[in-house]
């Protein structure tokens, strides 16, 4: 029977199937998602495996698909999503798919190349459609001429000049050296400007081509060429869009097919192929309860491939540790993930996840405790749960974390509303639901006006109206709350740890380590109960009886005196016979320490001596080599004992963070109210409402960022630490490895 209580029983199975039916069988197993293939060729490097070429082909196809998708995104073509399960293609279809992909890629690349070339031509043509002027100027004037033109056109022109060939005639007449230049510039309106500049430099202009008619002709031909090019470009883009749209209908389907094929080839690499090349041997881990499902999947796969021989399942015994498999559903997988983040449970160990579903949100809520904030958190979680599928498309790592933990956030919010009602705190204001159970009359009782009555009725009402509302505006609120919250944290902490110790009993019973029950569980329990269980008793007792406040003994001092055996007559005691009970409890606890430390190693030593006598001298040497030495065992036991005993005190103190964080949260929330919203409320004139609108917006933003996100993350982290360290070190080993089945669903989900 599968449950979250303990991890599933696994078995190692050998599979034999024919090479032709390999694809279909493995694909059926992949759709089932319940088997993990063991690597039968661990020493072989990746490039030496049998199907490495096929894996490379699949990767090439993935690359082409990625290129196609990028092109589609660039052209804003919508990629259709496919929902039905596609069949994995066999080897023939692989070749066809491959050729389709290569053809598509080539086509697309060619289109893109042509597109770029045509575009380039268009730009060049646009350049030609511009003005050009030719002229002659004295050479020495040329640089200044060029500078002026630069300033005028900001470099938007092309100037070419060359020295004029001096004829003999001109040289004889002593003519000055001249340059001929030609200017290309865009736009008609600049003609006047250039004329003026040339006049200034005394350059003579010649316009060419000589006639206006020719100019017009040239301009027209350029225009028609440009029109043609534009049309060709448009057609090219349409064709490209058509190709991409046709491909877009199939691209997702192809993508998942390629991923599945790659997974199948990778799996085939893990198997052994025997000499005749006809048989494939694989070893899988699979849950015992699912063997029939695996069998039927294999039969289906072999039928699909048309093979006559059904695959053979052969369950084998093994000494290796199987992987740990916890069957979870959408609700529990978040909680299982936070347990596995610390350490995957040892095979068949007790799984802390079902208890974590309740204790984790509860400890978070004790630190968060505000029903207004809890309500906002719950509403946010409900929204995320309803929009989970569409939010997953954002593919942001942060949103993935939030989506994975959406049920955790929901529970945290609901529990926070509950503890907020207990603390009577809603956005730092309190409610008056059940009226006050505070009596003023006993304050004026004959015993004197200073009697502090924390009476019995309060305790009865503690679950209906634990904190009366008027505490909220009392100036000594904190001294009451601190004492209450500290004691509550210690009570919760010790209960949590006792629960952890009790779970270790369940582990011992399951693994049949009955000796450990008496040597480990019972002494640990007695140690904890006699010291910290008694502390809880003292707290509860002091809450229940009536005391005069000026003479009430502090529990902490009582406890310290108990450990130091410090009993003086002026110390006030809570009840008669307290001294003897204290002495008895401390002695019991101290007695448990040597039991934990010494008895187990002594028993191991005795059994070893006995077997050594029985086995005889010849095997003495071999036995000595095979066993762990006595010194190691003793050191291990000593470490374990010290860790437990000292850890009891430090872990109990560690639970005081429940008090510290809830105090911080309450104070932050009150400061936010007082400094932000109260400023707006205190303005009684008409402007008050406008200020209130603005200040409320600031209040809301700060509440969400500081109080919800920052404090929420902090409380989450601390609650997680309390679980991982203080709770789990009482019973959890966490040294297993996770079961990672071949599952196409999770493959497609993670890579999307």
């Amino acid at each position: 029977m599968s449950s979250l209580f303990r991890s599933e029983e696994m078995c190692l199975v050998q599979l034999f199937f024919q090479t032709e039916s390999a694809h279909n069988c493995i694909s059926e197993l992949g759709h089932l998602g319940l088997v993990q293939f063991k690597d039968l060729n661990p020493g072989v490097a990746a490039f030496q495996r049998r199907f490495v070429k096929e894996v490379k082909k699949c990767e090439e196809m993935e690359r082409i698909l990625r290129y196609l998708e990028k092109e589609m995104v660039k052209s804003n073509i919508v990629i259709a999503a496919t929902k039905e399960k596609e069949m994995v293609p066999c080897a023939r279809d692989v070749l066809e798919l491959e050729s389709t992909f290569e053809k598509l890629e080539q086509e697309l690349r060619e289109i893109n190349r042509n597109h770029a070339a045509l575009r380039q031509n268009l730009i060049e043509l646009m350049d030609i459609d511009s003005l050009f002027i030719a002229g002659v100027i004295k050479q020495e004037r040329f640089p200044a001429f060029e500078k002026v033109l630069w300033r005028l056109f900001h470099g938007n022109f092309v100037l070419r000049h060359t020295e004029m060939q001096a004829t003999e005639e001109l040289q004889a007449r002593g003519a000055v050296k001249k340059d001929v230049f030609i200017i290309f510039v865009q736009g008609d309106h600049v003609r006047e400007k250039i004329r003026k500049v040339c006049e200034g430099f005394r350059a003579s202009l010649y316009s060419c081509p000589k006639t206006l008619y020719e100019r017009k002709q040239m301009s027209n031909s350029v225009m028609t060429q440009m029109e043609d090019l534009r049309m060709i470009l448009r057609r090219t883009e349409e064709y490209r869009a058509g190709v991409l749209t046709r491909a877009a209908e199939h691209v997702q389907e192809w993508g998942s097919k390629v991923k599945k094929m790659k997974a199948i080839y990778y799996t085939l690499n893990l198997c052994n192929i025997d000499i005749t090349q006809k048989l494939i041997v694989a070893e899988i881990w699979c849950p015992v309860s699912d063997l029939t499902l695996v069998q039927s999947a294999l039969i289906k796969g072999s039928e699909q491939s048309g093979s006559s021989v059904t695959p053979v399942l052969n369950r084998i015994q093994t000494q290796q540790t199987p992987p740990t498999f916890n069957r979870t559903n959408t609700f529990t997988e978040g909680f299982q993930a936070i347990i596995d983040a610390y350490g995957v449970g040892t095979y068949l160990e007790i799984n802390p996840a079902p208890y974590t579903i309740v204790t984790f949100p509860f400890l978070f809520a004790v630190m968060f405790g505000d029903c207004g904030h809890g309500l906002v958190m719950t509403l946010f979680a409900v929204w995320v749960i309803s929009q989970a599928e569409s939010l997953r498309k954002w593919k942001n790592e942060l949103t993935d974390v939030v989506i994975g933990g959406r049920y955790i956030i929901l529970l945290m919010g609901m529990f926070s509303i509950y503890t907020g009602l207990i603390y009577n705190d809603c956005f730092s204001k309190s409610f008056n639901i059940f009226g006050s159970s505070w009596c003023v009359r006993p304050m004026f009782h004959p015993h004197g006006p200073w009697q502090y009555v924390f009476n019995f009725f309060f305790l009865i009402n503690v679950h209906t109206a634990p904190h009366i509302s008027v505490w909220n505006i009392a100036s000594n609120k904190l001294s009451f709350l601190n004492s209450f919250k500290m004691k509550m944290s210690v009570i919760l902490g010790v209960s949590h740890m006792l629960f952890g110790v009790a779970l270790s009993l369940v582990n011992f019973v399951h693994f049949r380590k009955f000796q450990d029950i008496f040597l480990q569980f019972v002494p640990q329990l007695i140690f904890m109960l006699s010291l910290f269980g008694y502390l809880i008793f003292l707290i509860l007792y002091k809450w229940c009886i009536t005391l005069r406040s000026e003479t009430a003994p502090s529990i902490l001092l009582l406890f310290i005196n108990m450990m130091l055996f410090d009993y003086q007559s002026e110390h006030v005691l809570l009840y008669r016979g307290q001294v003897w009970i204290h002495i008895f409890l401390v002695l019991t606890a101290v007695l448990m320490v040597p039991v934990l430390l010494l008895v187990k190693p002594f028993l191991i030593y005795r059994t070893r001596m006995k077997t050594r006598h029985q086995v005889g001298e010849q095997n003495h040497f071999i036995c000595f080599l095979l066993q762990v030495s006595m010194g190691d065992i003793f050191v291990y036991q000593a470490i374990h004992t010290i860790e437990f005993c000292l850890g009891c005190i430090s872990n109990t103190t560690s639970y005081l963070r429940l008090w510290a964080l809830s105090l911080a949260h309450a104070e932050l929330s009150e400061v936010l109210w007082r400094m932000v919203l109260q400023v707006g409320l205190k303005i009684s004139s008409g402007m008050g409402s406008l200020m209130l609108v603005v200040l409320f917006a600031a209040f809301a933003v700060l509440t969400v960022t500081v109080l919800l996100i920052m404090e929420g993350l902090s409380a989450f982290l601390h609650a997680l630490r309390l679980h991982w360290v203080e709770f789990q070190n009482k019973f959890y080993e966490g040294s297993g490895y996770k079961f990672t089945p071949l599952s196409f669903d999770s493959l497609l989900k993670t890579q999307q």
């Binding site: 804003n76 409610f431 008056n432 409402s689 209130l692 609108v693």
Partner: protein
């Protein structure tokens, strides 16, 4: 006619959430102030003179309570307006997105 769109889809969505929260919380605060709840005494702007010079206690304090309550209700009404504007922005954004694709 120039486009009425002045904020993107995310800002408009935040505006809607903020206005819903504002309407609910401010109207509840208004109700609690009108009901003269004792816990909210620190939020009411009264001074020492108000308590001492009051001819008919605690009517002055009650009057102040009512004033703050009315302020809260007005602020809630303003947030209804802000919410309506944000809703329009969300619709305009959706329409523009639909037209582009």
């Amino acid at each position: 006619m120039p486009s009425l769109l002045f904020c993107g889809p995310k800002l408009a969505a935040c505006g809607i959430v903020l206005s819903i929260w504002g309407v609910i919380m401010l109207s509840m605060l208004g109700i609690f102030f009108s009901a003269k709840s004792a816990v909210l005494i620190e939020d009411v702007p009264f001074t020492e003179e108000d308590i001492r010079d009051d001819k008919n206690p605690p009517q002055k304090i009650y009057g102040l309570y009512n004033q703050v309550g009315i302020n809260c209700f007005i602020a809630a009404a303003i947030y209804v307006g802000v919410g309506a504007v944000s809703l329009c922005q969300v619709r305009l954004n959706k329409r523009q997105e639909y037209m582009v694709t």
